[in-house]
Every structure is written in structure tokens, then in C-alpha cells.
């Protein structure tokens, strides 16, 4: 299997198929990275496109020594920070659990749990959410996340642990311990 770095270098050499493969591989996690952290759908799409445009624009300066995924999420992180500075509405630092629309919790179905999980994710702080998404969706390890968000490894570890705990509490509040059994 061709690595992301090789695909990127192929694209720089003029192979558009390599870029398509790279895009298909990373579009989902990257889109969700913004989707989870932005309130507005339009802003999510705008930031998502911005990342790819930056990648395309900076393709000639790309070096193999830099890991592709680290590079794109670093760009994404910076864009998100910039956006946060412009408008505070991007992040949701609301620690109050959001109410699930459905009142029927006796008949638990998976779809409801998933929907509730999404709502619980919104209750995480911005830094916890970012670390959680980078770990769970993009598949980075702690060191890689610390490189992306410019933080030390232990802080990231702590953020993820708190994120898990908060999610557990949020889900337990809604469905009890049944979710984990």
C-alpha cells in the first residue's frame, strides 16, 4: 500500500490520481474534525476547503520528512484557532449536558445512543474535543497529537482521559450503565 507521503509526492510530480486517493482517504476524518468543533455547517465546509486549498498551494514546498497527516491536521488546527480568534462561536465550551430531543429512553436503540453521543461530544471543551477527535477519528497517537496542537504529550493524555470520562457521564445520565454492558 502506498503511503500518504508517496501519494503526495506523486501528486507534486503531476499525478492527479494520487491526489484523489489521498483526498478520499482523509476527507471524512478531516471533515468531521471541523464538523464537531464548528457550530455552523457553512463554516465547517469553508474551513475544510481552506485546508485542502492550502495543501494544494503549498504542494511544492512539501517534504517527505514531514508526515502528511500531521501536516494537514496542523494546518487544520491553525485554521480553527484563527477562526476562533475571529469569532468565539466556533467552539462550544458548554459543560452543561444538552438535552436529547427524544423523551423515550425506555426503548433504547443504537441510533439513539449514537445521536446522544454526538450531543455529549458537544459538551466537551474545545481542547478535549480536538484531542478526542484527533485520536479517535484521525487515528493519531499522543505524540502526533501533541505535535499538531503544540502541546506536551501528558497534557494531551489528560485531555483525552477527561473527554472519555465526560462522555461516559453524559451517556450514563441518559441511558444508565446499560450502554457499556
Amino acid at each position: 500500500m502506498i503511503s500518504d507521503e508517496d501519494l503526495m509526492l506523486s501528486y507534486v510530480a503531476g499525478d492527479i490520481k494520487a491526489f484523489e486517493t489521498l483526498y478520499l482517504k482523509h476527507k471524512g476524518p478531516l471533515y468531521r474534525y471541523f464538523r464537531r468543533q464548528c457550530k455552523e455547517q457553512d463554516k465547517t465546509e469553508e474551513l475544510f476547503q481552506d485546508v485542502w486549498h492550502k495543501i494544494i498551494k503549498a504542494k511544492n514546498s512539501y517534504q517527505r520528512s514531514a508526515k502528511f497527516t500531521t501536516w494537514i491536521y496542523h494546518i487544520a488546527h491553525n485554521l480553527l484557532i484563527d477562526e476562533y480568534r475571529k469569532s468565539s462561536s466556533v467552539f462550544q465550551d458548554n459543560n452543561e449536558p444538552t438535552e436529547l430531543a427524544s423523551n423515550i429512553i425506555d426503548n433504547l436503540e443504537r441510533i439513539e445512543i449514537i445521536e446522544q453521543l454526538k450531543l455529549c461530544l458537544n459538551n466537551l471543551s474545545s481542547v478535549q474535543l480536538e484531542s478526542f477527535i484527533l485520536k479517535q477519528d484521525a487515528g493519531f497517537d499522543l505524540i502526533e497529537i501533541s505535535n499538531i496542537v503544540n502541546c506536551d504529550k501528558e497534557t494531551i493524555k489528560s485531555r483525552i482521559r477527561y473527554a472519555y470520562s465526560k462522555l461516559k457521564i453524559c451517556l450514563n445520565n441518559k441511558f444508565g450503565t446499560a450502554v457499556y454492558e
Binding site: 501528486y11 476527507k27 471524512g28 476524518p29 475544510f48 486549498h53 449514537i114 453521543l117 479517535q136 450502554v179
Partner: protein
């Protein structure tokens, strides 16, 4: 904060994976891929733009080299003539003295020749003047078109001797210089005249 065990984390992770289904709209996919294609096309142009001067210089050098190689022999002769040291090319005053005399003689010869050629060329043809071939001077035996003789020969063969004689007389009056030549060719016609 309640602590989670690995099993609970796994369960949460699986739940999250199930929830992670959002993908960008197809329009965005298309826009990004089009942008990537466009960037490659621009890059090609930039590549040419960057190398346009070296490429032009290289092409010019190649062209000049090819022309030089093809015409090498011509250049070689020229170089041999011009490559002699300047001292060898210059003439000393001693060398110049006989040369001046030589030049004087040469110029007088050239003048004489010019005069002679002017004398020869003096009777020049003017427009609308009837051409009278070589009446003023003779430069040797005339050469006629064989058709003229052929016609006379045919008339003789056909037995039209009077007509042949008439033509012959015309020819002699027109070109008196060739009378001897014609007498040799047609002695009978001249005798009977």
C-alpha cells in the same frame, strides 16, 4: 470524575466510530479536485516560465553550432586567409615601390582596354531600330540556322530551282560575307545564275 476501564473505552470508541459518518458534500469534493487539477496545470506553465531563458539560450547555441558544423569548410578557408598575423599582411615601403609601378602599368592597361571596348560597343542598338545582324563587323564564319539551308535543299529536291535560287540571292544580298560559303554548298545554283 469516574474512571473508565479499557472495556468501557473500547465500547465508547466503537460507538463513536458508528456516529462518525459525516462526509463533505459532493460539490466540495469536486471543487477541491478541480482545484488540484488546475494547480497542476498552472505548475506546468510555471515550470516553462522558470526555464524559458535557459531553454532559449540552449536552442540558440544548438542552432548556431549546427550551422557552423554544416558550413565548416567555408569558414575554414576564411579563417586561413584572415588568420595570418597583421605584420605579414602589411607591406614595407620597399615592397610598396615596385608595387606602385606595377599598379601604374596595370591602370594604363585597364584604360586601354576600356577604350578598346568602347570602340567595339559604339554601334549600339536602340529601341525600335531594325536589327541588322553583324553588318558592321565580322568575328569569323557565320553560323546559320540549318532550317534556312533545309528549306533551300527541299526546294532543290522538289525541282523548284528558281525559287531556291531566289532565296539564295536574298541571302547573299543580306549577308555578303557568306557568299563564299554558299558558293561551296550550292555551286550549281550559282553557276546557272
Amino acid at each position: 470524575m469516574s474512571k473508565l476501564n479499557n472495556q468501557q473505552i473500547d465500547k465508547l470508541y466503537k460507538l463513536y466510530k458508528l456516529s462518525a459518518t459525516e462526509i463533505p458534500p459532493k460539490e466540495i469534493d469536486l471543487a477541491i479536485i478541480c482545484n488540484a487539477k488546475e494547480a497542476l496545470r498552472k505548475n506546468d506553465f510555471k515550470y516553462y516560465y522558470k526555464w524559458r531563458f535557459p531553454i532559449s539560450v540552449a536552442a540558440s547555441i544548438t542552432l548556431v553550432s549546427t550551422l557552423y558544423i554544416l558550413n565548416n569548410s567555408t569558414y575554414q578557408n576564411d579563417i586561413e586567409l584572415n588568420s595570418a598575423p597583421q605584420l605579414y599582411k602589411q607591406r614595407s615601403p620597399i615592397m610598396e615601390a615596385p608595387l606602385a609601378k606595377e599598379k601604374q602599368i596595370e591602370s594604363s592597361i585597364v584604360q586601354q582596354e576600356k577604350k578598346y571596348s568602347q570602340d567595339i560597343d559604339s554601334p549600339k542598338l536602340e529601341l525600335n531600330q531594325k536589327f541588322q545582324p553583324l553588318k558592321t563587323r565580322s568575328t569569323g564564319p557565320l553560323k546559320f540556322d540549318p532550317i534556312i539551308f533545309k528549306k533551300i535543299d527541299e526546294l532543290i529536291v522538289q525541282g523548284k530551282k528558281d525559287e531556291a535560287r531566289k532565296r539564295l540571292t536574298n541571302l547573299v544580298t543580306q549577308y555578303p560575307d557568306i557568299k563564299v560559303q554558299l558558293e561551296k554548298r550550292y555551286p550549281k545554283l550559282f553557276e546557272s545564275r
